[in-house]
Symmetry: C2
Subunit: 475 residues, 2 copies
Amino acid sequence: MNAPVATSLLHPEFVQRPVPEAFVQALAARFGSQCSTALAVREQHGRDEGAIAAPPPAAVVFAESTQDVQDAVRLCARHGVPVIPYGAGSSLEGHLLAVEGGISIDVSRMNRILSVNTEDLTVTVQPGITRKQLNDAIKDTGFFFPIDPGADASIGGMASTRASGTNAVRYGTMRENVLSLEVVTASGEVIRTGNRAKKSAAGYDLTRLMVGSEGTLGIFTEITVRLYPLPEAVSAAVCSFPSIEAAVRTVIQTIQVGVPIARVELIDVNSVRMVNAYSKLELREEPMLLMEFHGSPTGVKEQAEMVQEIAGEFGGNAFEWAERPEDRTRLFTARHNAYFAAVASRPGCRCITTDACVPISRLADALLDCVTEADASGIPYFLVGHVGDGNFHFGYLIDPDSEDERTRAEQLNSQLVQRAIALGGTCTGEHGVGIHKQGFLREEAGDGAVQMMRAIKQALDPRNILNPGKIFALQ
Amino acid sequence: MNAPVATSLLHPEFVQRPVPEAFVQALAARFGSQCSTALAVREQHGRDEGAIAAPPPAAVVFAESTQDVQDAVRLCARHGVPVIPYGAGSSLEGHLLAVEGGISIDVSRMNRILSVNTEDLTVTVQPGITRKQLNDAIKDTGFFFPIDPGADASIGGMASTRASGTNAVRYGTMRENVLSLEVVTASGEVIRTGNRAKKSAAGYDLTRLMVGSEGTLGIFTEITVRLYPLPEAVSAAVCSFPSIEAAVRTVIQTIQVGVPIARVELIDVNSVRMVNAYSKLELREEPMLLMEFHGSPTGVKEQAEMVQEIAGEFGGNAFEWAERPEDRTRLFTARHNAYFAAVASRPGCRCITTDACVPISRLADALLDCVTEADASGIPYFLVGHVGDGNFHFGYLIDPDSEDERTRAEQLNSQLVQRAIALGGTCTGEHGVGIHKQGFLREEAGDGAVQMMRAIKQALDPRNILNPGKIFALQ
């Protein structure tokens, strides 16, 4: 989900820690022109694409090497100053906000590919490279990195938030695709969390602990991720359904019989209308599934035929093929533009986005109840979902000047999350917790599990300098 | 790998903590006949299938519920007594040994299936159920749990050691297949590490932190794992090669072109000879690959044809099919019996097993150098490998009464591990660290990473009662 740069939606009373003058001087001495205190630069680094605002960081360091990150973190450690890693700025839950003050370390200049190992299907990169930069750079190797959260996020940021997106149903999320990390710890030490072996039983899984830790346990300086062979054949299809339930039942059965579908996206009728208006398309105004199949030519054909047959059983119709790349691009562009189409449908609106994920067997129930509530609220909304994983996003399109609409949208979000948790799901499938979902995390994980997370944080970052105030409050 | 019950190979000076009399009385009062202090029972629970021995635990509690585990852990916490979870006793690296004394909690009576959710492809079980019990119980559902480490290990034990085995190349390891856990913590609290949603970005990945933690961070009382649809078609094939390198090159290319092979096992010529003698077979005495393909009938045929073509390029010959279940069973029984065949080839011997895993591109190099060294040593050995993952096991067949052979075998193991680490690999692909590989873990992960593991352990188990002395020393 892409979202426009937010002005403030909430104004919590963030308490910023003092930044000692000696620290500022030491930082300037070490980093010179790699360090900026210009307001515009600080403001740019003090926000993400979410809806919460906070005062900007005191300075921004543009790191160009692991050594730079180490030196900056060591200075922060010495002076007790918070430090927030910054990649592409596309996170959604307030991850980048300097809620306790401190500095931002921008790693976007650390965007090199360090080694491509096509025999092992791995690539090692610096954290600032974006997923599109990575795929462009390796496009002639016959391999690709599949994780696609929509935004052109940095690989470091994607690892930090355990990102996923449209083709996680086949290729997994960052959890499955990060093999190892080089990490600068809270004391400025460098550790490696793993190696390039495909599997390992050597001690605690520090890689998976770091993935999704949102910058609170360490700053990533090298990342080894998996590559996949470019599929020999790709085809896409779109199919309309009489109801959301029929579409979801089709997906459940597809997964259950083991069709290795590469993408399967649900778009509700509101989204279809908005996309038609925005992109001058004439998609049938019914809930629809957008699908993509990867494999051998025979395999792809077989997969698609199986899904078509299943869809037929649930009343799916207008099963249309898109075998040519340009037709596929057109379809998935429509999907990727759903957000912009929605925002354009209500000029001046702001979008409040949800990110719940439920076991797929409960997806129809979850969606139908949420649709009923959203319809009853009178607030315009749209619904898209990575339904193969049970992950879905409602976008509530509110008037930013209406306190009432905001309250009602947050209430819808809250009801939706509580429903997802009650159904055995999670408040966040892929966006992370950040600031916005800390209350939901407590409800979902329980006090004992959150307390365990806190204990780990305190053990690894006793001065609480690494992106403090995110995921959970320490007190 | 199965290994016979060991008598002592090494006799480290394990220092056992005192067990207060008040603790023993409280344990007996709470657990009555569920608690045993009989020497035979304690001895059975104080060893695993590895080669190290230690004095037995002071008592064994047969837990029948989460509450039992909680109560036992609370008593241990109150009295500072170590507690070691015990499943099927099939671990290999000394995981179950009471090296600091304390009690064993046997969870084998906690072997119920709590819920099967075929729509979500998940099953929730108690930790004591073994993988064969699980698959037997769900065999009529059309789904199966694929992880197969050879031994009929408990699911709890497999999660604890991050086990994998022959078909991890397609289905992943316990790392990828455990969705969530109920865990009794060091203080006797119960937490849940996740839910049944297929993906989540909700805070630290406690599930993955617990998987592979070898009983040192908590005791698992419920485990939710993934199921897979039984493949519509299965076929197996065996192919001989002029050299190990030719076999390995075939595997690399197979993986690289994206053939979703389900199993691909390397057996060296020594193993073939031993298996022929043991199982009265007439397999061609050359290095060979045993392969299995899962999918649709067309897909399986296509996969196998691709591999046959690749094998042909590397001089593979005698590509034989086994489409009938009994022929497949015969082939994979030969593989599973390789260990017993090897031990039978040198009566009275003991087997010292290695477990390194390297990036697949380095596998041929790693194997060839290790073969050269093993041949030069004069010690009989065999080599089998889950080569699709780069994981391989040498078994050195030593005379247990020969100090010299033991020293040389340990030296071969040490050289092999150092080579694997230098090639970007790990000292343990699937057996875990336990007691035996603590030195290797330090070499592999580095002091900083091991120190991070220690810090986590100390934060979550400040009195060091959960399986102390495993993975790393605390001082």
